[in-house]
């Protein structure tokens, strides 16, 4: 077990190094001079050239990469071209908003997804099952920004139930959380259902039933425990994915999270910010997968015994 975890962590290290390198190189192929983009129409070529030079953007790729790595090792991720602030500060300001969104969305997803899946599995092939599964399916089939837009229009604008945009309070988070959470809950419900159904076919369940256990006890004591393994794993990874930034939802609801940070950085060619936020977001996924794997190995007796 410990060996497995250590091994899994060791494998992650070269991936992280590779990602830093790949992100840096990939972003080098992007055309466009950040200074020109920022100065927009009102720019004089001489000034653009001079500022580009003065900011060291004309240095060779390897020099800039070296500088970037050197800074990173010293905890300095550079300075955003556009927002004139240290990148670390920008990411650390945006991340809590993303975390807030991720937590609320995940809560919505779990609270709706798991019971839906369990009820559906128990009542397999009944009208209830179909209704709930249909509801879940619509959740994962909605185009995110369309759903976000309609929700904002109906709940926020027409019914005035919730704030339209922003993220200053938890009330602001409800709509975005519903949009993201509904989609995730659909996946959770479906996985819960199929996993539970799969488990319920096992011999030990049959044995339990034969012993005369009440069906609900069979489900909760034997079925649920085992069927939750893939579900929990999936939830961990979903959560990581939410933490890495939700570009569309953040834009529609005006939430200043990691997703928005990345999108504005890329269109502005704000390289220091872009590199670091992409690497940050990628790391979260990697770490999330790592946690999921470890969680899985922890939950699954088959692996634990090794």
């Amino acid at each position: 077990m410990v060996k497995y975890i250590v091994n899994r962590i060791l494998v992650t290290i070269p991936i992280i190094i590779a990602i830093i390198l790949i992100v840096f190189l990939l972003l080098q192929v992007l055309p466009g001079n950040p200074i020109q983009v920022m100065m927009k129409e009102k720019a004089n070529q001489a000034v653009i050239d001079r500022v580009t030079e003065q900011m060291g953007l004309n240095d060779p790729v390897m020099v800039r990469f070296g500088r970037y790595l050197w800074g990173m090792l010293h905890g300095d991720l550079g300075h955003s071209y556009k927002l004139k602030r240290p990148v670390t500060q920008l990411i650390m300001t945006a991340f809590p908003n993303t975390v807030k969104l991720a937590i609320t969305s995940a809560l919505v997803a779990w609270i709706i997804g798991m019971p839906t899946g369990i009820i559906s599995a128990i009542r397999k092939d009944t009208l209830l099952d179909r209704t709930l599964m249909g509801f879940s399916l619509v959740g994962i089939s909605l185009p995110v920004f369309w759903a976000a837009m309609l929700l904002q229009y109906i709940l926020g604008y027409k019914l005035k139930l919730l704030p339209i945009s922003g993220y200053s309070t938890w009330r602001h988070m409800i709509m975005p959380a519903i949009v993201l959470g509904w989609a995730s809950s659909g996946s959770i419900a479906r996985l819960t259902r199929s996993s539970l159904l799969g488990v319920m076919k096992n011999d030990y369940i049959r044995t339990a039933r034969a012993k005369g256990l009440v069906e609900s006890a069979v489900v909760t004591r034997h079925g649920l425990k085992n069927s939750m393994i893939p579900v929990v794993t999936m939830m961990a990874m979903q959560f990581a994915s939410l933490l890495s930034g939700a570009v569309i939802t953040e834009s529609v609801f005006g939430i200043g999270g990691i997703g928005q940070l990345m999108v504005s950085a890329i269109s502005q060619r704000d390289m220091p910010l872009l590199q670091s936020s992409v690497i940050f977001s990628t790391m979260i996924i990697i770490v999330g997968n790592l946690v999921a794997d470890i969680l899985y190995s922890f939950l699954d007796p088959k692996i634990r015994t090794q």
Binding site: N33, E41, R50, M55, L107, I112, I164
Partner: protein, 570 residues
């Protein structure tokens, strides 16, 4: 029956859980609504979800403002226009003319050779940090912009001062005694390299916002050097002398400007300005309708113009300002067949400007016939708009050897708004009607700027708005100097380009204006080097509590709000 019951139970379960999650969340922090209660009294119709008091002007910005430091931005001037002062200001007077008026500089004189500008400053201008504004701060403002290590973005507004180029090259450390002579705390001379007629107008641009030396040094030190100075990004280090003070800056959410009680022109009656960052115009509209915003710039959402114009509650609250600028389609003469003037003229004649204005801009523009906008010296009202004449366009194309038309591209950037995309599609179908087949080429703006800089961009549509009220700021920016190639015109008429450069130095005002009338006519009509479209109006809808709002003289999106006040309590 049993099944139905089960369904109901399940639904109840789901909803109660959803309710739990939201209810639980709401409980952890006080509801934002509380903020407005204190002042509103029992009649307060609007509860502000942002938590700021009622006597705060609520406006939006579409993206995070880049900076409040004139050395750090050439695009987002809102913070400078509200928190800083310039030596002189441009104002639209009662006759509708844009004139330069005193501001921090109480009076000035210009030497006969047009090289030396002598200023006398007011002695009652106080910075937000309590220091008085003196000649030394003016010197500092220029020095810091031209300091090579700072990579000042607006150095183009100052490098005409004597010694400016040397300083940018790192040959000298300060302009003191070279281009700027300090004659006491409140008197100074600025000396130019060569006469430059629009210099005084230049001084009214936000690029010339006056900075404080002490605060500047402190901000540089805190940020670790001039390039990473905190002057424009951290309220603690920012320092201006304007009517509002940078008070709070929450990234990606809002900037709050607090009223400066010691402002030399008298303090504004509002408590401050809340600038919310709202990228999506649809959201902006919803917030405005909910009373959460005071001013809604309909440029972001043209399609809302008729909605508010037809709504009796708002019809009288529209603020219409004709923008001192021109929208146009560029023409790259290096791309065949645009090297043929007949083709360029056909290109101009093929577009029905009035119908496009009526349908796409809901009438909020006037068709253009010249590049110089009405109000700019050198504008010739007699020329009239370019007519819509598809038959003549076809004839011209046939004459030029393209009876069956030709193919062309129009570049559109990926961040173009929906209405921009629609206007381009509509223009394309007008061109199609005379045989010009258009492909819309979509590029992201950074890539496109690169392409345009090489002089190879196909036609693109954009608009130009005056920085200062002078034709030089229009025509020379386009066709003079590096602009000709950098903006992908490749305009070949060398004679015109030479006259354009010479016109900068004409000192006699009438002679200069006459020259620009000729130049504008030659470029936009005779040579048809540019397909001018319209002069837009900027329409803003205001909540009825907003009083006295004066849009920026040239009609930019960014405005100063010093004149604005709010009517409270209803």
């Amino acid at each position: 029956m049993k099944k139905l019951l089960a369904i109901l139970l399940a639904l109840a379960l789901v909803f109660s859980m959803a309710a739990c999650s939201s209810g639980g969340g709401g409980g952890e922090q006080p509801a934002p609504a509380d903020g407005g209660e204190g002042e509103g009294g029992e009649t307060a119709a609007v509860v502000y979800e942002d938590g700021f008091p009622e006597n705060v002007l609520r406006i939006t910005y579409q993206a995070e403002p880049e900076s409040a430091d004139p050395a750090c931005t050439t695009a987002d001037y809102i913070l400078m226009m509200n928190c800083m002062d310039t030596l002189v200001r441009t104002e639209t007077n009662a006759a509708g003319e844009n004139v330069t008026v005193p501001s921090v500089a109480e009076s000035w004189s210009v030497s006969d050779d047009g090289l030396t500008y002598s200023f006398h400053l007011r002695d009652d201008v106080k910075f937000h940090n309590g220091e008085m504004l003196t000649s030394d701060d003016v010197l500092y403002t220029v020095d810091r912009m031209l300091q090579p290590e700072r990579a000042g973005r607006n150095s183009g507004w100052m490098d005409m001062i004597k010694g400016g180029a040397d300083m940018l090259d790192g040959k000298i450390d300060t302009l003191e005694g070279v281009g700027i002579i300090i004659n006491g705390d409140y008197d100074l001379d600025i000396i130019l390299d060569a006469p430059y007629a629009p210099f005084l107008a230049c001084l009214s641009t936000p690029a010339w916002s006056l900075c404080n030396r002490e605060a500047g040094d402190r901000a540089d030190e805190a940020g670790g050097g001039p390039l990473t100075s905190l002057y424009g990004s951290d309220p603690e280090y920012f320092c201006g002398s304007g009517p509002f003070m940078l008070d709070e800056w929450v990234l990606n959410d809002h900037v709050f400007l607090k009223t400066n009680p010691d402002y030399w022109r008298g303090a504004n009656s509002m408590e401050g300005i809340l600038i919310r960052i709202i990228p999506d115009p649809q959201t902006e509209k919803m917030l405005f309708d909910a009373g959460q915003l005071d001013i809604f710039d309909l440029d972001h959402a043209l399609d809302q113009i008729p909605v508010y114009r037809d709504d009796p509650a708002y019809a009288n609250n529209l603020n219409v300002k004709t923008v001192l600028g021109t929208s146009y389609l560029s023409i790259n003469e290096n791309i065949e067949p645009f090297n043929d003037v007949r083709v360029r003229k056909a290109f101009q004649l093929a577009i029905d400007r009035q119908t496009l204005i009526d349908t796409q801009y809901y009438g909020a523009a006037t068709p253009a016939g010249t590049f110089l906008a009405p109000g700019v010296p050198g504008y010739d009202p007699d020329l009239g708009a370019i007519p819509y004449d598809p038959e003549q366009a076809k004839a011209l194309l046939a004459e030029a050897g393209y009876p069956d038309g030709f193919d062309m591209e129009i570049v559109q950037t990926t961040d173009a708004s929906t209405s921009d995309i629609e206007v381009n599609d509509a223009i394309a179908s007008y061109l199609e009607a005379v045989g010009i087949h258009v492909t819309i080429k979509q590029m992201d703006s950074a890539s496109w700027y690169d392409l345009r800089g090489t002089g190879e961009s196909p036609t693109y549509r954009t608009s130009w708005t005056a920085d200062f009220n002078d034709p030089d700021n229009f025509l020379y920016e386009m066709y003079g100097g590096s602009g000709n190639k950098r903006r992908s015109w490749n305009y070949y008429n060398e004679d015109v380009i030479k006259r354009l450069t010479d016109a900068r130095y004409i000192v006699d005002e009438d002679e200069r204006t006459a020259e620009y009338v000729w130049l504008d006519n030659q470029i936009t009509r005779e040579d048809a080097a540019m397909n001018v479209l319209w002069h837009k109006q900027k329409i803003r809808v205001l909540q009825s509590r907003v009083k006295g709002f004066v849009p920026m003289w040239a009609g930019y999106g960014d405005s100063g709000y010093y004149e604005t006040s709010l009517e409270l309590g209803n």
